[in-house]
Subunit: 357 residues, 2 copies
C-alpha cells in the first residue's frame, strides 16, 4: 500500500529496521543517553529557547493536548481557543472537562483566522490561548505570527499544537514566544504512533511547577523530574523512542530541519501542480505543506477513499463527521517521492476515466 | 543482549517482523477486524464472562491503572488497597489524587496477604478492592481466590492489576468475579511497551457508563463506544496493536493460554532449580511464574545488575528505591529457553568465582 494519509505515514528504512529489533531494557544509562539526544534534537528542530525542556508522553497526540491544558491552566484562567475544526474542538472539549474558562473563536471550514477576529479580545484579561497551528481536519495553516503578536501584546500564555505541522512548516518557538509546543510521533517525524511530545519554555516550566495537577499519568512535574536523568516515570514506548532517535539523527544528517521542511514543501507543490484541472476544489485559504485538502466536485469524498484503497492500493486520508463525504486529504509527510505523487495522480485520472471522480 | 527483565521482554520472530513493516492507516475496516480479533482473544485468555468488553489504551500500564480507578470509583466509594510494594503503592497514590476514600493493607516486603489480614474488613461497608495480583516489585503472587471470596461475600467491586501475571499464572476472570482486569503489552504478551488493556465485565461496564469521568483521554465510555466498530477515539499505537494481534494468534495456534502458562512455569522451575546452592535468598512467600526475586547474600543487587549487563551481555531486572541494593529479579516471560537459563546461571557462577557475587 502507498500511504498518503496524515498519519501513521511511511517510515524510512532505518526506522523500520529498528522496529524489527528486540526492545531493550530501559532503566539503563544507555537508554537515558538516547532520551537526552531526543530532547536536544527536538528542541533544536523546534528552535526552543534556552532553558526549555521536553517531555515524551506514551500516548496519542490528544494525551499531550490534555496534559498540556491540565498542567498549564486552572479554573483561574481565561483562555481563547481558535476552533477551526476537529482539533480546535478537541481543545474546547478538554477545557470544558477540566473547568478551564474559555472563549472560542469558531471559524468556518477552510477559513483562516483574521486580525479582525482577534482584535476584539485585546485587553480583555485573557490569560491563555490554545491553537492548532495547522487544523489538520480541514488543512488550514493559521497565521501564527499574527497570533504570536496578539499573545505577546496581551501577555497571554501560548500553547501551540504543532502535531501535524512540526517539520513540515517553518516554526520558531523562541521567536513566536510559544510557551508550550505539542508534537506527535506519526506525522512528519514519520515514526509509528504511540508517542507525543511536549516542549516547554522556561515560563511554561514555571507554570507547570506551580500547578497541582490531579493526575498521575499526566503529571508533567513528575515527568520533568525523571527526565533530568533521561528517564520516564512509567515504562514508555521504548521501541518508538528509539525509532524517533534514529529519525531525528537522520534528519540532522541530511541537512537538518530546514532541509526536511523544504523537501515536504516541494512534494506538496509538485502534487498541487499535478492535480490542476482535475475535478477538485481546494477550499483551505491557507495551506500547510503537510496536507492538501480536496473537495471533490462530483463524488463522495469517502467513496474516493474506499476506491483508492481497495482498487489502487493507495491510502488517502478520509474525514469524519460532517466532512465525511465532502473532503478527503492528501498528506505529504513521511517517506514519499514525486514518483509516488505521479502514481496517485494517475490513479485518480484513471478513476476519472471510469466516471468515479 | 539476553533479556531476563520483566519488561520489555524478548519478542517472537513474528512480532519482530511486524515491527519492521510500515504501519498501515487504521481508520479502515481492515484494522477494525484486527481489533475485534484482539478483543476476542484477550477475553478468551482471561476467561472473561459473557458480555465483557475490552479497551486498548495507548499508554503504560499505569495509564490503565489510573483510567480504571477514575472510571470505576468516585468520592462516594470506600476501597481497600492491598499494598505490598511499588505497584500497590501506585494504586494508593492514584486514589489519593482522585479523592477516592481508601484503606490500605500494607504488607512487608515479600509477605503474602493472609486471611487474618482481610477479615477485619468484612462487613465494614467497603465498596471496592484494588490489588496487583502479582506485586511485580517484590515478586509476590497474592492468593487471588481468597481475595475473590472476600469480594464476593462483601459485594465489593473488584479491580485486578494482572499486568505482570497475565499469561504467566492461571487466571479465571469469570470464576474470580473480577470486575476489571488490567494487562500490559510488554510482559507475557511479549510485545513492545506502549499499550495497556482493560477488560471489563458487565458489572464494570454498568459502573463505567454511570460515572462522569473528568478526562478525555481516559474516558472509557468513549473508548467503549468507538470499540463497538473496532476503533479507538484517538490514533492508537497501531504498530503495537498489530504485533499484539500476531502474538495472541501465535499463542492460540500452539495450544492456547494454558500451554503458554505451563511453558513459563517450566522455565521458572528450571531456573529456580539451577540456582540452588548459590548465594541468594528468595524471600517471596508466594511466587508468580513470571519472576524470581533474588536477595544476594554478599553483594549489592544493583552491582550485580550492572556487571551482568556490562560484562556478560545479560539484562536482569534491578529494583528502585529502598530495594535497589537488596533485590534484583529474574523474569521468565517472553522468548526465553532453558538454554538461556543456563547461560544466565553460568554467568552468575563465573561472577561467584571472581568474588563478585
Amino acid at each position: 500500500m502507498l500511504n498518503f494519509t496524515i498519519g501513521p505515514v511511511q517510515s524510512s528504512d532505518i526506522v523500520c529496521s529498528i522496529g524489527a529489533e528486540q526492545v531493550p531494557y530501559f532503566r539503563t544509562s544507555e537508554f537515558s543517553a538516547i532520551m537526552k539526544e531526543n530532547d536536544e534534537l527536538v528542541m533544536k528542530f523546534a528552535k526552543a529557547p534556552e532553558g526549555s525542556r521536553v517531555v515524551f508522553i506514551t500516548g496519542s497526540g490528544t494525551a499531550s493536548m490534555e496534559a498540556a491544558v491540565m498542567n498549564c491552566f486552572t479554573e483561574q484562567d481565561k483562555v481563547i481557543i481558535i476552533n477551526g475544526g476537529t482539533f480546535g474542538n478537541r481543545f474546547v472539549e478538554i477545557c470544558r472537562i477540566h473547568g478551564v474558562p474559555f472563549t472560542e473563536i469558531k471559524l468556518e471550514t477552510g477559513k483562516a483566522l483574521t486580525e479582525e477576529q482577534l482584535q476584539p479580545y485585546d485587553g480583555c484579561g485573557y490569560t491563555g490561548l490554545l491553537v492548532n497551528v495547522h487544523e489538520t481536519s480541514t488543512g488550514v495553516l493559521y497565521n501564527i505570527d499574527m497570533i504570536s503578536r496578539f499573545c505577546k501584546r496581551n501577555d497571554v500564555f501560548f500553547i501551540v499544537d504543532a502535531i501535524s505541522s512540526f517539520l513540515a512548516d517553518s516554526f520558531n518557538m523562541a521567536e513566536l514566544g510559544a510557551d508550550v509546543v505539542i508534537v506527535g510521533s506519526q506525522k512528519a517525524l514519520a515514526c509509528p504512533p504511540g508517542i507525543s511530545i511536549i516542549i516547554m519554555n522556561p515560563k511554561a516550566l514555571e507554570r507547570v511547577n506551580s500547578i497541582d495537577v490531579k493526575s498521575m499519568y499526566f503529571n508533567l512535574k513528575d515527568a520533568l523530574k525523571n527526565g533530568e536523568r533521561g528517564q520516564t516515570p512509567f515504562t514508555p514506548a521504548v521501541g518508538i523512542l528509539r525509532q524517533i532517535n534514529a529519525r531525528l539523527k537522520e534528519i540532522e544528517a541530511v541537512g537538518g530541519v530546514e532541509k526536511e521542511i523544504s523537501r515536504i514543501a516541494d512534494l506538496a507543490v509538485d502534487f498541487r501542480n499535478k492535480i490542476m484541472g482535475m475535478p477538485f476544489e481546494i477550499v483551505s485559504e491557507s495551506m500547510s505543506n503537510a496536507v492538501t485538502p480536496l473537495y471533490p466536485l462530483k463524488t463522495s469524498a469517502h467513496d474516493i477513499f474506499e476506491t483508492l484503497k481497495d482498487e489502487y492500493g493507495i491510502w488517502v486520508c478520509p474525514n469524519g463527521g460532517d466532512l465525511k463525504d465532502k473532503v478527503f486529504r492528501i498528506g505529504h509527510l513521511g517517506a514519499l517521492t514525486k514518483e509516488d505523487n505521479t502514481t496517485l495522480v494517475n490513479a485518480m485520472k484513471d478513476m476519472q476515466k471510469r466516471g468515479l471522480l
